[in-house]
Point group: C2
Chain length 422, copies 2
């Protein structure tokens, strides 16, 4: 089994105007779909963040794969040193190929599932009301089909009270037992008040998290502590930006700090350990070099007494399948994983879309060979056509989207935030 061909296709996925510290999600989230083909006629799938810029980089890298044995995933680290995103893009596709070749799910290639179902958390965003023409393409036409099962978008969620209703819908529909609030959008006091209302509505059994994406100042983050400690959080994620500021907050609270911003790869671990920057690492196989890297990280976090969960970017079912397989095999995955998936439900490009168990917010580990998902060619073609039709498919730009509402918008700290969303 040797690689004969690699294709990388940009797709655009409809996305609501979700708010974050830098701005607002654009009408279409961009993903790269990687298809690695072999001489025995198999196709391995993978999905990565990014538009045509990422596509160009992956295409340039792909030529090194020709002739490769898909079992040889460790070689990807040598082929693409210092480039964990490229490693991840091809590692997942290779594991999909190996699983298909041996008739086993990817989880089995990673040591086997230690849990049958993987828990996820609700990802709650403040958002604008969806404007008319939000999904218009460059040609002026809207998305040319009506998705099934999509989560209703039209209404604004810009107050604590509206967020509680939004959370209620998430819990009823998807069963999530953990609620994560994307913060750094309203005033900190309002976001803390949102958590207080969520606790009042859902009681002590639901886990709460808040993620200001490093957008709060140290005084703001410290001011929030008494209320957050009283409300009770699973973790306090990236309240401030940078290792020094994070360590400062960590010293002042018993709440565990979590991060996907100041620990974004293995090279960040020694400093994080030495300075006690965070007690929970929010890993992402797309950033860390693949699902095998997530397993290495799990063993590290276990040994060092750190918590571990999965970060999420806007994604479709191929990425979600990889997340579920990886999570199923890591004993030490101590927190429910984040996912944006409900926001994209109805637009997935796989024939086996995922459905969270309304009883507990979990997903079953796919049992089919490889990732256990296959491309729905019609849906794939439609999202690829959308990517070709929208004005800016090069890379994500949440500032630009925000300027639809606030023409003078600049992010508080664009440099830091770029690391988060790219």
């Amino acid at each position: 089994m040797r690689v004969t061909d690699v294709s990388v296709t940009v797709v655009a996925v409809p996305d609501p105007p979700l708010r974050n510290v830098i701005g607002c999600h654009q009408p279409y989230a961009l993903r790269n779909i990687i298809q690695v083909r072999t001489d025995d006629g198999r196709v391995g799938l993978s999905e990565m963040p990014g538009g045509t810029q990422a596509q160009a980089a992956l295409r340039a890298a792909a030529r090194h794969l020709i002739g490769m044995d898909p079992f040889a995933v460790e070689r990807l680290r040598l082929l693409f040193p210092g480039n964990p995103r490229t490693q991840s893009a091809f590692e997942v596709a290779c594991l999909d190929l190996v699983g298909k070749a041996v008739g086993r799910p990817v989880a089995d290639l990673l040591g086997g599932a230690v849990r049958d179902r993987v828990p996820f958390s609700a990802y709650l965003f403040f958002k604008f009301a969806t404007p008319d023409g939000w999904l218009a393409t460059a040609a002026g036409a809207p998305a040319p089909w009506t998705p099934l099962g999509m989560y209703g978008w039209p209404d604004a969620v810009l107050t604590p009270e509206a967020m509680v209703e939004e959370a209620d819908a998430f819990v009823r529909r998807y069963g999530f037992r953990v609620l994560k609030l994307k913060a750094g959008v309203l005033a900190p006091a309002l976001e803390v008040e949102t958590l207080r209302l969520l606790r009042a509505r859902f009681g002590p059994a639901v886990g709460l998290r808040i993620d200001p994406n490093g957008g709060w100042s140290v005084p703001e983050a410290l001011d929030a502590l008494p209320a957050l400690e009283e409300i009770g959080l699973e973790y306090y994620e990236d309240p401030v930006s940078g290792g020094d500021a994070m360590a400062e907050i960590a010293r002042r609270t018993p709440l565990p700090l979590a991060t996907n911003m100041c620990v974004t790869g293995f090279a960040d671990l020694p400093d994080a350990v030495a300075r006690r920057t965070a007690r929970v690492i929010l890993a992402d196989h797309h950033w860390w070099g693949g699902v095998g890297a997530l397993r290495h990280l799990g063993r590290f976090c276990e040994a060092f007494g750190l918590g571990l969960s999965q970060h999420s970017n806007t994604h479709l079912g191929i990425s979600l399948a990889a997340m579920v397989h990886a999570a199923a095999t890591v004993p030490h995955l101590t927190y429910a994983s984040d996912t944006h998936y409900p926001w994209q439900q109805g637009w997935d490009i796989v024939n086996e879309p995922f459905a969270f168990d309304p009883a507990d917010g979990t997903l079953p580990v796919p049992t089919g060979p490889g990732l256990g998902v296959t491309l729905n060619e019609d849906a794939f073609r439609r999202l690829a056509e959308l990517a070709a039709a929208i004005p800016a498919a090069d890379c994500r730009d949440d500032d630009a989207a925000m300027r639809r509402w606030f023409p003078d918008w600049t992010p508080k700290d664009a440099v830091v935030m770029r690391r988060l969303i790219s």
Copy 2:
């Protein structure tokens, strides 16, 4: 593919009277050979240190494997928590089964080899002349066959000069480019002198290591530093015993300290990092939970700037195969691995005994399915019969062997040393 049966057999392997800090190797080294059988008629092999004590523990654990899918190696950590030796014993056998089932070498199941050949180092021991009747069994009979290709044993090596001749034979026969001196036997000054003579004989291209097994005092270890720094070492292994003492030596020398004694599992890593106990971890898949654990450790060492190599206990070809497969897949295996294998050459129980390349001391990665070795049933039966015939097959006891020469012998620090040899 489900596990239907597990057998654990003790074998006894002839061994020379090799000296170390606690005493002397016994006439027979004890190993457990694990055979895991599945409902589709396959047998997976594994090899572990130990005699009938270890056998009893493995047999008691083995009942938990019945019905297990050999792909599900991660579950072994949940089945046998806190027992990495049992995890390792069954993990390697399961990987051998999986490799045979999918027609791939174990290295491919671990991400694929990143090197075709794996370097090893000479393991140089001071030793007594082999006494008459050394290999006599309980019944008084010697080992009942003549091994082929064995390394000649009869002469004593108890001076620096004799050790240089021994090393010369090792280099000529096996091609090793790294020489490791098992120390803590003669006076420290004589052992340092041995290294000086080795450097003089073999020149700057050969790597040198010394391992007093924690048997030196802090003043002894410090006194040796100027000479060792001048001679030049790859690493200074466990000169002293315990993390405090190791950290004290580490602060006083640019030589990298290595250890297989104060870092023996993942739980030791946080302290080792915080105190800078050692700069090179000598891992052993038998102790750390298996070859998958070695891969996790490799990624950890890479991130934290630590070196990594493999520790060796007296072993046969099944263990060596596992070591080679694992080493082949870890990019960050920065030092040639230790091996006792030459001391047992000619007594191996596999049909594919290993032969170090006389040009460079490397071994090729086996290309057959699974571990790439199969049991030589005749040789296996003979070593099992030997284990049944010798007086003490319960566990290793280097004190007892030493008392053949020194009736009042007690080890310097038996408590610490038991960790090393068990």
